[in-house]
Symmetry: C2
Subunit: 703 residues, 2 copies
């Protein structure tokens, strides 16, 4: 990864290969945009057939340009692209935006062209954005680079955007623009043949003027690299993202619990692991970015509320409380100060209703007191603009309080912005994030609190257990792979689990009835007997499972019946029958590029009906394992409930980490279910398990 993208984002001169005199063609619009946005350097239209475009001298080729050029756009048809990349290399151009579409997404021919231009670019050390992309924008007045064919021209600001989809990027850019909010940098990298979203995020991370990063991706090339880079960035500044494709139902056809439940959640989990703030709504994301790029990070979730109107305060509290924010009472001291400074009809509590007739002095005192109150981490203001109040000076007081204090302020500003333009301007220049609705302001404040939680979360440790027997697992897997057996036998599964020191119910394998009976005796009744055969997948459907066998006679009857029904070829898997404790489920599922998704939940109805399970991307650290265990909805059952003991959290956490390590060590394991584990009396033990592995490409599973 090379995140020095200065040639791309800070070009001193731009060439446009495929420049056109035709209005509304991309080759014309980009020049128009560069000129309109007052790009600081020269713009060189490249077109061998004309002399000038939009008043600029046109050149036959980049090689004819007199001065140095950092960045070129290429908007010509695909077949001509590689040669122009070569020319750019010769010219010493360091970055190219290929707006043209029609490469690898169009099949082999396009792929060949793409390979060609990439090879040439590499030869010259050129970085490529695209193909099939919009390009970049940098609002820094030193550059004013609008290397893009879209139509929204941002004011300078502190929010930088990177979007895989130019459509969503454009919507977000327009939304900030409509809110009167400036932006720093913008990039839409389309097919992402070279410069990746990860590199762009890393670049934004190092840009001092970028205070918040907005991300829209539908997939990520190298998720583990992305996580590592994004984690670095989020420790310094927030990254905000929309979860795209969260309802994709593609994975439902999968064959195990972990498969069906994991669904298309990997983007969500990647973002979580990277410390990225996620949003379901673009508007909420934009609002949060405004708050995060302008306000300090609060130390906690406790809010002081100042309002000059009733109903919106009810709505604000509903939203704040729903988000998990706290609204502590005013201290006695604060209340007594406010009793002296507020209007008689004011309501001296939290929320502090200064009433509609409150003027600048009342707001000033309210803000001073709230800012000083140590139990408030942030200030929420409902500010409606009554015609009979000096609203501009109220706004000045709010701006002054924000400047003087170190607590974030968000403001639900309810007005006609045209009529109250003076007031609006003061708030804007004071850097006060304003929102039209109480609930949107509340959610923006909540984003600040979430970011504080992310930044202050304890960094966990990924444990490497040294007591495992890797070799044994390796040989079992190699054997199964060589036989193209995707579903491991019970013997194999339990041997693997024991090799990784995952506690399992005592078991033995027996080749005949007599051995089975004797194994049962050695394990100790009651036992379970299962027909163990690679040929039988759904054992219980064919009478291949018998539970709670109390004595030798029962064991013999069962084993004989199975042999009779299922054929002489079967072996017997004999296992201790455990009293039913609290059921748990732990699983791992390999996801291309991501590694593994690890799952935890309570078993039975909790997983099957309530879907009360949590996921995390491997490797799972100790703190992540603990967070998984304690974040299911039925968490009180974990802790113990109504006399029934809780489960051993430490042992459960260790099993999760061991499974994460096992799945990470052996990428051939596609899906692994421990379902159920029984937890009781401080112990925890696997009672049933299944492992599916990757063999040769083969898709006609009988399942």
């Amino acid at each position: 990864m090379n995140d020095n993208l200065d040639a791309l984002f800070k070009p001193r001169a731009v060439a446009l290969i495929g420049a056109s005199q035709k209005e509304l063609s991309i080759g014309n619009v980009i020049i128009k945009n560069l000129l309109h946005y007052q790009f600081r350097g020269p713009v060189y239209p490249i077109n061998p057939k004309v002399d000038e475009i939009r008043g600029l001298k046109a050149y036959p080729s980049v090689l004819d340009i007199p001065g140095e050029v950092d960045l070129a756009h290429i908007v010509i048809p695909p077949p001509f692209v590689p040669e122009e990349v070569e020319n750019c290399g010769k010219k010493g151009i360091k970055a190219i935006i290929i707006n043209t579409a029609g490469f690898k997404e169009m099949g082999a021919e396009g792929q060949a062209l793409e390979d060609d231009f990439l090879a040439r670019a590499r030869k010259y050390g050129i970085r490529i954005v695209g193909p099939n992309c919009q390009g970049i924008i940098n609002s820094d007045p030193e550059f004013n680079a609008y290397c893009n064919f879209t139509f929204t021209f941002p004011q300078p600001g502190h929010i930088s955007v990177v979007a895989q989809s130019g459509g969503v990027g454009a919507v977000i850019m327009q939304a900030f623009h409509d809110m009167g909010i400036g932006q720093r940098m913008y990039a839409s990298n389309g097919n992402g043949s070279d410069v990746s979203i990860t590199e762009i995020i890393s670049y934004y991370g190092k840009d001092d003027q970028t205070k918040a990063v907005v991300l829209y991706a539908e997939s990520l090339e190298n998720p583990q690299e992305f996580i590592a880079v994004a984690k670095q960035v989020t420790s310094r500044k927030p990254i905000l993202a929309i979860i795209a494709g969260r309802t994709d139902k593609g994975a439902e056809a999968s064959r195990s619990h972990i498969g069906g439940l994991a669904g298309n959640i990997s983007l969500d989990l990647i973002y979580k692991k990277a410390g990225i703030l996620t949003f379901r709504s673009q508007e909420d994301l934009c609002h949060a970015a405004v708050a995060l790029s302008s306000q300090p990070v609060p130390k906690g979730n406790k809010v002081g509320i100042i309002t000059n109107t009733g109903g919106p305060s009810v709505i604000a509290i509903d939203e704040l409380v729903s988000c998990g924010m706290e609204i502590p009472a005013l201290s006695e001291n604060a209340a007594s100060v406010l009793k002296g400074t507020m209007l008689e009809s004011a309501s001296i509590r939290n929320p502090l209703d200064v009433v509609a007739t409150a003027g600048p002095g009342h707001f000033k005192s309210a803000l001073e007191v709230m800012m000083k109150e140590p139990q408030f981490d942030s200030i929420y203001i409902n500010f409606v603009t009554p015609p009979f109040v000096d609203c501009e000076n109220v706004a000045r007081e709010i701006a002054a309080a924000a400047k003087a204090g170190n607590k974030p302020i968000v403001c639900n500003y309810m007005t006609d912005k045209q009529k109250w333009s003076g007031t609006s301007k003061i708030l804007k220049e004071g850097g006060i994030p304003t929102f039209d609705f109480a609930e949107t302001a509340a959610r923006a404040l909540h984003a600040l609190v979430r970011y504080n939680e992310i930044r202050s979360a304890k960094e966990g440790e990924v444990k490497r257990f040294t007591d495992v027997n890797k070799e044994k697992v390796k040989s079992i897997l190699e054997n199964a792979i060589s036989l193209k057996r995707e579903i491991l036998s019970a013997t194999e599964v339990y041997t693997i689990l024991e090799a990784y020191r995952v506690p399992v119910a005592p078991w033995k394998v027996a080749n005949d009835v007599k051995a089975a009976v004797s194994a049962a005796g050695e394990i100790g009744f009651p036992v379970v007997i299962k027909a163990d055969s690679e040929q039988i997948i759904h054992k219980s459907d064919v009478g291949g499972v018998a539970i709670n066998i109390q004595n030798e006679r029962e064991a013999k009857d069962v084993a004989e019946r199975m042999k009779r029904d299922l054929g002489d070829g079967i072996r017997f898997f004999v296992q201790k029958f455990l009293p039913k404790g609290r059921e748990l489920i732990i699983g791992a599922k390999a996801v291309d590029g991501v590694g593994n998704i690890i799952m935890f939940g309570l078993g039975g109805i909790f997983v099957e009906i309530l879907k009360d399970v949590v996921f995390s991307i491997s490797p799972v650290s100790d703190t992540e394992a603990l967070e998984m265990i304690t974040s299911i909805k039925a968490e009180p059952l974990i802790r113990g409930f109504r006399g029934e003991k809780g489960i051993n959290i430490e042992k459960t956490s260790e099993i999760i980490q061991r499974i994460s390590m096992l799945a990470t060590d052996f990428p051939d394991i596609k899906e692994l279910d421990l379902n159920p584990l029984f937890a009781s009396d401080g112990n925890i033990c696997v009672v049933d398990s299944r492992i599916i592995i990757e063999t040769a490409p083969k898709n006609d599973y009988n399942n």
Copy 2:
């Protein structure tokens, strides 16, 4: 209820008592607003000290006005209000908006003034809005009545707003204004001393030009009347409301399950029962109102999607699917038509990606095909405005399709509205609801679907069971009330339940040990023995409950021990000990003004940890009872799961309806818990129950 509010909403002449020459005083702002909004009739400022205000002749009193007057504002201090109401009566004025605050909310003196002006108003048949309110607006060009001191001047439209909080009303009015959406009528009735929200809603219901009603209330005077009226209105046009105070934790201190769980949910339940569409966010509500007031109601939840950009389509699908909408495939026939009409790069499926270069013809064909497809109930469009497309004619095609078809269309319209003002205008004039974000457009479409579900829901029947013994319940309650006993004894509780034919586990009461042992024998072992005494509330805490008693000897031991430990005064409540089936909980809680809230859920962890319970307002109809039973999250357990039988839904529904009837018949019952009921083998039976009644005012419960 008298919902003829024409004098209020359709005044032909308005007087302002307390008119003032002072700019920015309410007595001046209202005149300014009436003139600015071009009120069609004369405006009479009333002020004995001046001759004219804002160019209008002022009169010393309403009695001096030469012409007829329908409506008067009163903005003078409270003590002078009653006399002016009297004058209005003499003048023949039929409606008064009292903007002034300071009546009953300020104590006895204010209450006396309010009683005084109300008595005078009644004498003359005058309707009063307020006091402590904004007033009304009617945008009908025949009236142009802006009888209000706020600052947003709506264009004529089809949405009418009623808000208890003027603050929220003003925010909503401004939001529609900012969206360029007209409004029909507006009312904020403040303290609501006379004209109620219910009457205003009824009035809006009868107004042909009102296509959607927006409501904000924090409380409702007479919920049952409100429900009856709102139900009528929602059968013809949608009512949309914000749930205010949904996180209020005030009820948590209550003493039973139903109390703690019901919380402040009555507004939510009232709205549900009335068929009102509820929203958590004002913005979502406004968006939905725009869609509902301009589009036909879809027949179902199946959406056809047309898009000219990729990412926003991913986001739209996420939101639509999350909302429970379906996105069926295109028919083969439709696909084959589209293959002939779309661009080569278009993606012929649902979503139909016409691609960014699609022009009016492509949109036309897409719309024609989608409108014709019988499996689509509605059309969702993502429309970004590329600089290289004839967007105005695309907009014309969308408007034409909406006009020609009978399916609703919503549009995520992504543009710079200033630069594409022509396109925006065409969409607006075509009545196409447009939204800035994919997810907000999707949610607006979902509101249309929800309204269809409300309108097409089956009307249930409230059953009156004739086999109950009301007299018996009455005498038990009267006796307990006369003794000021709030918590009924087990004997009383079970007698009441049996009187209403609620199935309970067999039970007997015994006065001494010998009788207890004999009762146990008669019921049949195993039994439960409880110490039954009005003095012991938490029986199990003091050893007053013994379960699973197997024989006479055990029964004798237990009864003797209880007598020894708890005193000679106790009786014994002996009951059949039932095998634990699926646990249910059913409850009722009286709520002032509402009647009763009825609760249903699974017992144990489902109620205590997962809070998986549902509520409904009494009287609960058969369809409502069924909906309650099937709408809990753990619904599959109700139906039966993994070999375990489901519960008897019919019997459960009957118990819910009987409890609803019992609670409705006896308002003295404050809280009633059946917790648990055991359901197994098609039977269902109350195993424990508690009833708390209202006696004299008394709040020092020992609980």
